[in-house]
């Protein structure tokens, strides 16, 4: 098969994406495909895809553009099949405000939250209602950009007085911020692949510094991982159940990763989903797959096979 691997782009996750993309490219070549890499940050994408038309695009783009439905819509227009979730569902899944709403409607547990829009602060005087956010979600809470990845712009707020600065930091990355209750517990990631989606073993995340932030994610050795997670079987079952329900609620397909936190009672709370999960050497989905005996090439093969055929 002719496979264009899309990686790079113009987001702060560019470097991470290129690392994912190069690993996927090697895996594709190992599988015997005629594969090449396109970096939409360097090459005009549409032109490049028309010049050398692939049978399928593997999306290894992270962050805006790659995960928010933009690239997916372009590929729909060009009628080129692609890995993962369809455009509209990407748009919802990538936006934490929309995604959390969809999860809550489907009774998937997600930490209580409120959304704060930048323009509502600037033009509608929403700042006077900031205290309501704390009333609703309590302290400590976590403030995140609604549309960003890799924990960029994410902050923890312990005192109410620190909320405005955290909101400003999140709004630097996105037009809106999500303020949610911080759930203490064990961080886990559940990878899902195939059609229908099936889970790979749950990965437990133990950041040495206590916080799974950008540095903890991308500095080798800064975080310990256990796969399968060191939790009771019922907890694993609850995690896989919640992740499958989350995927269904959001219309995810082919490949995805659900990030969750397991509280002291063993109950999982879904934090977010990733429609183009990282495939780097420090990434969670390949780690979970490895625990099930799948190589990166096996994993890529399953992802590729789950792409609906053209037309």
């Amino acid at each position: 098969m002719n496979v264009a691997v899309l990686a790079g782009g113009r987001t702060p996750e560019r470097d991470v994406s290129l690392r994912s993309g190069h690993r996927v490219l090697t895996a594709m070549q190992e599988l015997g495909h005629d594969a090449w890499l396109i970096d939409p940050g360097e090459t005009p994408l549409a032109e490049s895809l028309q010049e050398r038309e692939p049978d399928v695009c593997y999306l290894a783009l992270h962050g805006k553009e790659g995960e928010d439905g933009t690239v997916q819509r372009l590929l729909d227009l060009l009628q080129i099949p692609y890995t993962g979730t369809a455009a509209f569902d990407c748009e919802v899944a990538f936006d934490k405000i929309l995604a959390k709403d969809a999860l809550a409607r489907a009774d998937v547990p997600t930490p209580p939250w409120v959304a704060i829009e930048g323009w509502a602060l600037r033009d509608l005087g929403a700042g006077v209602a900031l205290g309501k956010a704390i009333e609703h979600v309590g302290l400590p809470c976590v403030v995140k950009p609604s549309r960003s990845g890799s924990a960029l712009g994410v902050g923890t707020v312990e005192r109410e007085a620190d909320l405005p600065a955290a909101v400003m930091a999140a709004l630097s990355f996105s037009g809106a911020a999500v303020v949610e209750t911080r759930i203490d517990g064990t961080e886990v990631a559940i990878g899902l692949v195939g059609t229908p989606l099936e889970t790979v073993p749950v990965v437990e995340i133990v950041p040495k510094g206590g916080v799974y932030d950008y540095a903890a994610r991308y500095t080798a050795g800064a975080t310990e991982y256990f796969a399968p997670a060191r939790v009771e079987d019922e907890v694993t079952a609850a995690c896989t159940g919640a992740s499958l329900r989350a995927a269904e609620a959001l219309g995810l397909r082919g490949v995805t990763r659900v990030d969750a936190i397991v509280d002291a009672h063993g109950d999982p709370w879904v934090l977010e989903v990733n429609v183009c999960p990282g495939m780097t050497e420090t990434s969670l989905l390949p780690m979970g797959a490895h625990a099930a005996g799948m190589s990166l090439a096996d994993l890529c093969d399953r992802i590729l096979r789950s792409v609906p055929s053209r037309g």
Partner: protein, 408 residues
Amino acid sequence: MAEFSIDRFVDLYAHRTSGMSASEVRALFAVASRPEVVSLAGGMPYVQAIPEEDVLEVVRQVLDEHGTSSLQYGGGQGHPALRERLLALMAEEGVEADAEDVVVTTGAQQALDLTGKIFIDAGDLIAVEAPAYVGALTAFSAYEPRYLQIDVDEDGMKVDQLEEALVRGERPKFVYTCPNFGNPAGVTLSYPRREQLVSLCREASIPIIEDNPYGMLRFEGEPLPCLRTLDPENVIYLGTVSKVFSPGVRVGWALAEQSVVQRLVLAKEAADLCGSAFTMLVTERYLAGDRWRGNLETLVETYRRRRDAMLEAIEEHFPDGAMWTLPAGGFYVWVTLPEWFDTQAMLAAAVERRVAYVPGTAFYPDGRGKHQMRLAFCYPTEDRIREGIARLGSLLEDEEQLYRSLHP
């Protein structure tokens, strides 16, 4: 169950590497290097001002005159011909020296590393100006010092603060400063403070590390004597050709007492045996004759116009409450915003608006500088600088509006 070790040597690394980690700011700089972004972040010299034919000619001379010996290993102290030539370069700034007291390094950056290596044991106190060149801090930090930070104002390092610390009984191993159009603050240490610093350190037997990459990039005013000139025995002087010729040749040097030089040479040999004979000789030939002076004049004139463009644009676009330095040379303007600004958090929004800077926190060892930023005027054209400052100005205005809306 398997524990996944991403890095199977993770428990084996030296403690001094613990501060080396991935960061959001680095991730954003990957985007900031894109052509549509006006980068006021990096301090890249405008090497386009060096005519290619000048370089070709000296490369040919090196091969003609030195043949394959220019492709061979050399001594750890650096090629004697280059060391002689560097004396002439230093003499331009009034520094007199002997070629035996010079050790050529891979950029002045290696001189910083080697200085750290020969002076700092883990836990030692060293004094640095605050803010200080980030590359000096990262070089020193690998040797795990404690920092005594001496604030900087428009006249450079506040030497009184250092004096107070010495009176309190603090005994730093050395004092690090970049006295001419310093990186990042762009300020110059005043003459009275130079005298005060030199005599204070001499009395206390504390060596001064004088980092002088920008001294020859003066736009106006009279040059001040180097610290090294004021006290040749107690000052370790670091120089570089990165700003007068090319950072690509990686030629810097340290000038110091023989006892220090000997240690630096041994440390240099342990690190990389010797510098590149080829680029040392290319540099030597480039600095022979007078061609380099004309090129330097072009560079200084270019930087001066860019500085003017930046200062005018800042004046026009930055909000009330912002303060900035007025550099008389060098590469940088240092901006201090009202306390509530967080320039690190704001960087993503800046890059989104296609402009980049370096957040102030990079220039302090202890996380200060949240409301400050460094702006480099050396690389973009004047039009791009004006465009970049306008973008930044409108961002600052929007941030201020957002801040007010969050604090009704």
